[in-house]
Symmetry: C2
DNA sequence: CTGAAAGCGCTTACAG
DNA sequence: CTGAAAGCGCTTACAG
C-alpha cells in the first residue's frame, strides 16, 4: 500500500539521464533527440507517469481551477448553470470548485477569501441576495483573480456579466396574462436588492401601464426566492378584500409555493387565479396544472460565463468588459391558458 | 492590478530576518523569541499575508481537497448528499471537488483518474449504473487515495460504505400498499447492476411473498433512474391486459414520470392505481396527489461518508472497514392513502 | 533563538 | 542534444 506516485526523477534514474532531459522529452518535440524522446515517453507510459499538477501550479502560479459561488446548489437553476460552467471548463482543462453562499453575505465573503487563498485562477458568481456590498469581489480582482457574474450580478463591480432580458421577459409574461383576460394582476417580487428582482418588477409594472391597468400597492409583495416564502405571500394575497385574478411570481420556486397554497385553498388555476413563474424549472411542467413560466437558458448562461472568465484568465484583457444578454422564452402551460387560441403553444411536456 | 501575493520571503526582507524565522514565527510558539514572533505576526497581518496552499501541498503531499463523483448533480438526492459532504469537509478545512459521471462508465473512469492526477486526498462516490467494473477505484486506493461509497456502492471494492436499509424500506413500503388493499402490485426497479435496485426489488418481492400475493413477471419492469424512463414504463404497465392496482417505483424520479402519465391517462391515484416512490425528494410532496415515498436521509448520508473518508485520510487506518446502514422512513401521502386510519401520517406538507 | 541548506516536483534559461 | 543550476513558496532538520 502506498506506492508513492512516480516522478520525473525516477524516470531519469531508470534511464540514466538527467531530470531536465526527461522534462524536455515530455514537453518539447524540438531540442531533443528522437531516440531519447521515445525512450522517455515509452517508460513514462509504462510507469503510468502523470505530472504532479501541484508542482506545475507552484511554478506557473496557475492552478487550472476556477471557483463558482451560487446561493444554493440545489436550486435547479443554479445546478444547471453549474453544468454549463463545467462543460466549458473541463473541455479546456480547468477544474471547478463549487461554493454555496446560502444567500448570506458573511458566507459569501468567506467563500471569496477561500478562493483567493486557494489561488483559483478565476471566479464565477451569482451574488447572495443579502450582500449589501461587493467589495470582497473587487479585492479578488485586485489580486489578479478575474471575476465574472451571471444572473444575479453586481452593479458595483466592473467586469463581464451574463444576464437574460429579465425586463422584457417579465413584460411579455405580464402581457400574456392580460391577453388571457386577467385584470387584477399581482406580483410577488424577489428581494429588491437584486438586479433580477428589480428588472422583473419593472417589466411587470410597465406592461400594466401600457394596458392602462392599475398597479396596486397591496398586489405587489416581496419574497425570498423560496417555496416557503412564496406560500406565505400567496396566503397574504388571497386574503385581500379585492383578490388578484393572476399572480406573476418572480421565480418558479416562489410560484411552486403559491401553486401549492392555491390548490390547498381550492382555487382553480387558471379560472380563479392564473399563475406565472420565471425560470422554467423542469419540475414546473409536472405540476397540475402545469406551470407557465418565463424560461431562462440556465445551462447556456453558465457556459457563456465560463467562456468569458477563461478569456479573462488567459488573455488578461481587463479592458472593455462585456455584458451579454440572453433571451428568455415564454412557455405557456395550463396555469395561465384560459383562452385556447392556435397561436399559443399549449400542452405540458415531459421528457 | 497585479500586486502579486505577498510571501514569507517578502516579510523576511522587510524585517531583515531569515525566511526560516518568519516561517517559524507563523507556526511554532516555542523555539522563537516572543519579540520577533510579535513583529512577524503583526507585519503578516498588515500585509494581509496568507500562506500559499500550493507550496504547502507540494511539501506535505496533501491537498486538503476531496473529490466526490455522483451520477448527476441536479438530482436532488445527490445535491443534498453533496451538501452533507461539504458540511463536514469545510468545517474540517477541506475543499470539495464535484464530478458528475452522468452514469457513464467511461466518464467515471476519467473522473477517477482526474482526481488521482489532481492529487485529491480522498474520494467519495456513488457509482454510475453503467459501470461493469470498479477497478478504477481500486487503482486510486493503491496510490493511497482512500475511497468511500454511499448509496450506490461497489461490492467489489473494500472500504467504508454508507447505505440505507433499502431492503427493509422497500419491504415496509410494499406492505403499506398491501394494507391499503392493493393486490396487484407492480414494481419499476432501477438498473439491476446497482445494489440499491436489487435490494429494493428483494424487499418488494419478499413482502409480496409474506402476504401470499403473486409476483408476476409482467408486473416487474426495469428502468433507469429517470423521469422519462418512468413514464415509458407506466405506459407499458397500464397497457397490460391485467393492470396493476399499485406501482412501487424504485425512485421518486421514476415515480414522477409515472405520476405524470397516470394523470394524462385519466387514472385516479390512489383509487385506480396507488403510487409509491423512494427517496422522498422535496418536490414529491408538491405533486397532486402528493407522492408517498420511502424517505432517505440524503444529507446525513453525505455527512457520514465524509466523516468516514476524513478518518481514512487522517489516520490511514485501512483495516476493518465499516458499512453504516441508516434508516429509511415511510412517508405516506395522498398517492397511496385509500383507507383513512388514525395510525397513518397523512397530509402533505410544504416548507 | 536564528540562519543556511536541502528538498517537495517540476521547468527553463545558461552552458557546454 | 544534454546536464547542472536556480527557482516557484514553503518547512524542517542541522548547525551554531
Amino acid at each position: 500500500m502506498g506506492k508513492t506516485s512516480i516522478t520525473i526523477k525516477e524516470i531519469a534514474r531508470q534511464l540514466n539521464i538527467s531530470k531536465s532531459t526527461v522534462s524536455r522529452a515530455l514537453r518539447d518535440s524540438s531540442e531533443i533527440s528522437e531516440h531519447t524522446r521515445e525512450r522517455v515517453i515509452e517508460l513514462a507510459r509504462r510507469l503510468n507517469y502523470s505530472p504532479n499538477p501541484i508542482a506545475l501550479s507552484l511554478l506557473k502560479n496557475r492552478t487550472q481551477t476556477i471557483g463558482i459561488i451560487v446561493p444554493d446548489i440545489d436550486n435547479p437553476f443554479f445546478s444547471m448553470a453549474i453544468g454549463g460552467v463545467e462543460d466549458v471548463a473541463y473541455s479546456r482543462g480547468y477544474h471547478v470548485m463549487i461554493y454555496q453562499s446560502h444567500d448570506s453575505y458573511e458566507r459569501e465573503c468567506i467563500d471569496a477569501r477561500h478562493i483567493a487563498a486557494r489561488r483559483a485562477d478565476g471566479l464565477i458568481v451569482s451574488v447572495a441576495s443579502k450582500s449589501p456590498d461587493h467589495s470582497h469581489f473587487e479585492e479578488l480582482q485586485e489580486s489578479d483573480i478575474p471575476v465574472v457574474f451571471f444572473d444575479r450580478i453586481s452593479e458595483q463591480v466592473q467586469t463581464h456579466k451574463v444576464l437574460v432580458n429579465d425586463y422584457e421577459g417579465a413584460f411579455e409574461g405580464t402581457e400574456h396574462l392580460i391577453m388571457q383576460g386577467c385584470r387584477r394582476i399581482a406580483h410577488i417580487s424577489g428581494p429588491m436588492g437584486l438586479n433580477i428582482s428589480r428588472n422583473r418588477f419593472n417589466g411587470y409594472k410597465d406592461a400594466l401601464a401600457k394596458h392602462n391597468l392599475p398597479l396596486r400597492d397591496e398586489w405587489v409583495v416581496s419574497a425570498d426566492y423560496s417555496q416557503s416564502d412564496g406560500a406565505e405571500r400567496a396566503y397574504q394575497l388571497m386574503a385581500l378584500r379585492e383578490r388578484p385574478d393572476a399572480i406573476f411570481a418572480a421565480s418558479d420556486r416562489i410560484a411552486i409555493g403559491v401553486h401549492w397554497v392555491l390548490r390547498q385553498l381550492g382555487y382553480r388555476m387558471p379560472q380563479d387565479v392564473a399563475l406565472l413563474g420565471f425560470s422554467d424549472l423542469s419540475i414546473s411542467a409536472l405540476l397540475d396544472p402545469p406551470l407557465s413560466s418565463v424560461a431562462q437558458p440556465s445551462f447556456e448562461m453558465g457556459r457563456q460565463a465560463a467562456e468569458l472568465l477563461l478569456e479573462l484568465i488567459e488573455n488578461k484583457n481587463t479592458l472593455d468588459f462585456e455584458t451579454r444578454v440572453l433571451k428568455t422564452n415564454l412557455v405557456v402551460r395550463g396555469s395561465t391558458l384560459k383562452i385556447i387560441n392556435s397561436g399559443d403553444p399549449a400542452s405540458a411536456e415531459i421528457l
